[in-house]
């Protein structure tokens, strides 16, 4: 790494650390938006492994997000102990697991779900896989909606509340932290946690991209039969991609549940899956900076719109409010960006070119 690169790197690192301290001046709301945007970056990076590297269109990605979120919700809220006296007797103080137990657990569980879904379906070709994963996402959502009878596990459409904040080594992320005379509010603490995980994920993804595994995935994406002929175990590699992607989803889910303190099936609709796919594809499929850009754009911009919501609703007689405008803009962005730049805003450099780009020369 030469000095110029290093200085750019250091400047952006310092910048990222300082961002919340500036934004904090405008209250917690804007920091929250940035936190959520980082969460989407994490999700988009995970889906990018499946869609971008391995070329498997997964339209049910949100299911893994849901698995992680509900796992954390069940382990860290009074929901289970309230409904199962036996558990309440076993854990009189409730289950309150620290972050270094919960996050790996969420990752593991979602990964297992990923492999479970992948195993029977990965021999399907592209579009069939898309619809099966979509169906899987809906199945998980229907279960979350209805698993309240005969045993109340998910509390149905009301969702689960009173979820603990993440805590580790005596630091509770829901309580403002005082360091060096500075007070860091809860949202800022979450910002640093999410940022750390995003950086870690970027590191993992970029190392994966250049590894044997990453190259195998890209080979499968470009031509599965050729990849097989080159001695790649396509089934295992696809399963690995699915499992890895699901792992990211699971971790994001646990973070989401603790950050919000509340989960309900509404957060895990098909719409959400499509939004995440859109982030990956709009930003630049298979390209890490592009994916991050797409996630930030689609996650943060619509949130900003909430502030123009009420005057807009008055102006248009309630027909157009912030959430409708948000949907409208996402829809227009999905169509417009694809028409102008079908390979995304920030496409990956030429070496991993797709079949369509190859035929153009």
């Amino acid at each position: 790494m030469n000095t110029k690169k290093l200085s750019v790197f250091l400047a952006s690192a310092v910048g990222l650390v300082l961002v919340p301290l500036f934004v904090q001046q405008f209250g917690d709301g804007p920091v929250r938006i940035i936190d959520l945007a980082l969460l989407y970056v994490l999700l988009a990076l995970g889906l990018n492994i499946v869609v971008g590297y391995a070329g498997l269109l997964d339209l049910g990605y949100v299911a893994f997000y849901a698995v992680g979120a509900y796992m954390f919700a069940l382990l860290s809220s009074p929901q289970l102990t309230n409904n199962f006296p036996a558990l309440a007797a076993a854990f009189p103080n409730g289950l309150h697991l620290p972050i270094y137990v919960v996050i790996p657990l969420g990752a593991l569980l979602a990964g297992v779900f990923g492999v479970l879904l992948g195993a029977p379906t990965l021999k399907l070709r592209g579009d069939y896989l898309a619809i099966v994963t979509l169906g899987f996402g809906e199945i998980i959502r229907v279960f979350l909606l209805n698993l309240q009878y005969p045993y109340n596990i998910t509390n149905g459409p009301q969702g689960i509340g009173q979820i603990d904040a993440l805590h580790f080594f005596g630091v509770d992320l829901s309580v403002p932290l005082h360091v060096f005379g500075y007070t860091l509010p809860s949202v800022t603490l979450y910002y640093y946690l999410f940022l750390a995980l995003v950086v870690l994920s970027v590191l993992i993804c970029s190392r994966l991209e250049d590894s044997r595994i990453g190259r195998a995935w890209m080979a499968i994406r470009e031509d599965e039969i050729a990849a097989k002929a080159m001695g790649i175990n396509t089934r295992n590699m696809k399963l690995l991609a699915f499992g890895m992607g699901a792992t990211f989803g699971g971790v994001s889910g646990t973070l989401f549940a603790s950050f919000q303190g509340f989960v309900s099936p509404e957060s895990f609709s098909l719409q959400e899956s499509i939004t995440i796919v859109a982030m990956v594809v709009l930003g630049g499929i298979g390209n890490i900076p592009g994916v991050i850009l797409g996630a930030l754009l689609l996650a943060a911009l619509p949130e900003v719109l909430r502030y123009v919501g009420s005057p807009l609703a008055e102006m248009t007689d309630g027909r157009l409010d912030a959430s409708i405008l948000r949907q409208l803009l996402i829809a227009l962005a999905m169509i417009g960006i694809m028409l102008v730049r079908p390979r995304g805003l920030w496409p990956s450099p030429e070496h991993g070119k797709s079949a369509a780009a190859g035929s153009a020369k």
Binding site: I131, E138, I274, M334
Partner: protein
């Protein structure tokens, strides 16, 4: 026995509507290999347009069946124009783009149509006027309404007309040729753009008919009404083997029957642990099972010819 017959009737009616929508998916997929996610929204637009027209004309004292026909015709006109434009604006420029690009515009189109419908018609569900006699007719212990009889009759007629169109006319031959190999077809004098537009228009007619039926059968219209039928119909198309017309019909009817029997019997079979609220799962569970055992769908003989 009566319940069995009743569920059979309900399932056939539901399946007929699924089949109509599934054909739109399967034809488009067969020709340009695109999952047209916006197709379910065409059904929704059909339902809402007919609702608007019927409500506007209701004070003139026209008979119910005439109102319904006028509503249906207006829905068909609006839907065909809309689907034609959707293809022209969102799909045609991307015909040679990377595979995921048109899929994303299709999802964007679906979201866009839904949002526009929400703005135009407002989000609340609207009661669909009862235009046909509602007295149920007894059939061997079960009941069937006039609307349901009409749905079955019209579906069969439309499906027959479609089969005739695809297998007996010049346009149909051009469609089949384009589906087989667009390049060679265009060398033989077929205009692919024209054929693709025609496919979207035909799909829109079927979806509009299904939309009006759906609205008349369930008595309510809303901007979200296209989502689930669209998803299920697509599932039906995949179930039958996507790109295959007969497959879409078989898949649609099968799915309708499975859902109707599932809703009727699941509670009894599992001792009320799993109730009819799980009905939406059947479509997808069935899909996963069928595709695992028969990856190209029930009637799909065309296996992957493109990677």
């Amino acid at each position: 026995m009566d319940i069995l017959l009743q569920q059979l009737i309900n399932g056939l009616v539901l399946g007929a509507m699924y089949a109509l929508v599934a054909l739109g998916y399967t034809m488009v997929y067969g020709i340009i290999n695109l999952i047209n996610f916006a197709h379910g929204e065409i059904l929704m637009v059909g339902g809402l347009v007919s609702w608007t027209v019927i409500n506007a004309l209701q004070d003139y004292g026209l008979p119910g069946w005439l109102l319904l026909i006028i509503g249906l015709i207006c829905a068909i006109v609006v839907c065909t124009v809309l689907n034609f434009l959707v293809e022209k604006i969102a799909y045609r420029p991307l015909r040679n783009a990377p595979r995921l690009a048109p899929l994303i515009t299709a999802m964007g189109m679906s979201l866009l149509l839904q949002t526009l419908a929400m703005i135009i018609w407002k989000p609340s569900p609207k009661p669909y006027p009862l235009l046909l006699p509602t007295d149920p007719i007894a059939v061997g212990g079960a009941v069937i309404t006039v609307t349901q009889i009409l749905i079955l009759g019209i579906s069969v007629a439309v499906l027959a007309a479609l089969m005739w169109l695809v297998h007996r006319t010049k346009l149909g031959r051009a469609m089949r040729a384009t589906a087989e190999n667009p390049k060679v077809a265009s060398l033989m004098g077929v205009k692919p753009d024209l054929v693709i537009s025609a496919t979207f228009v035909i799909g829109a007619v079927l979806a509009a008919v299904a939309g009006v039926m759906w609205a008349a059968n369930y008595g309510t219209v809303q901007h979200t009404m296209g989502f689930m039928p669209g998803l299920k119909a697509f599932t039906a198309a995949v179930l039958g083997g996507i790109g295959n017309l007969a497959g879409a019909m078989v898949g649609g009817v099968l799915l309708g029957l499975v859902e109707s029997f599932g809703a009727g019997y699941l509670g009894d079979l599992t001792g009320d642990v799993l109730g009819s609220q799980y009905v939406d799962i059947f479509a997808f569970a069935l899909l996963i099972i069928v595709l695992t055992l028969r990856p190209s769908g029930l009637l799909g003989e065309r296996v992957a010819d493109r990677a």
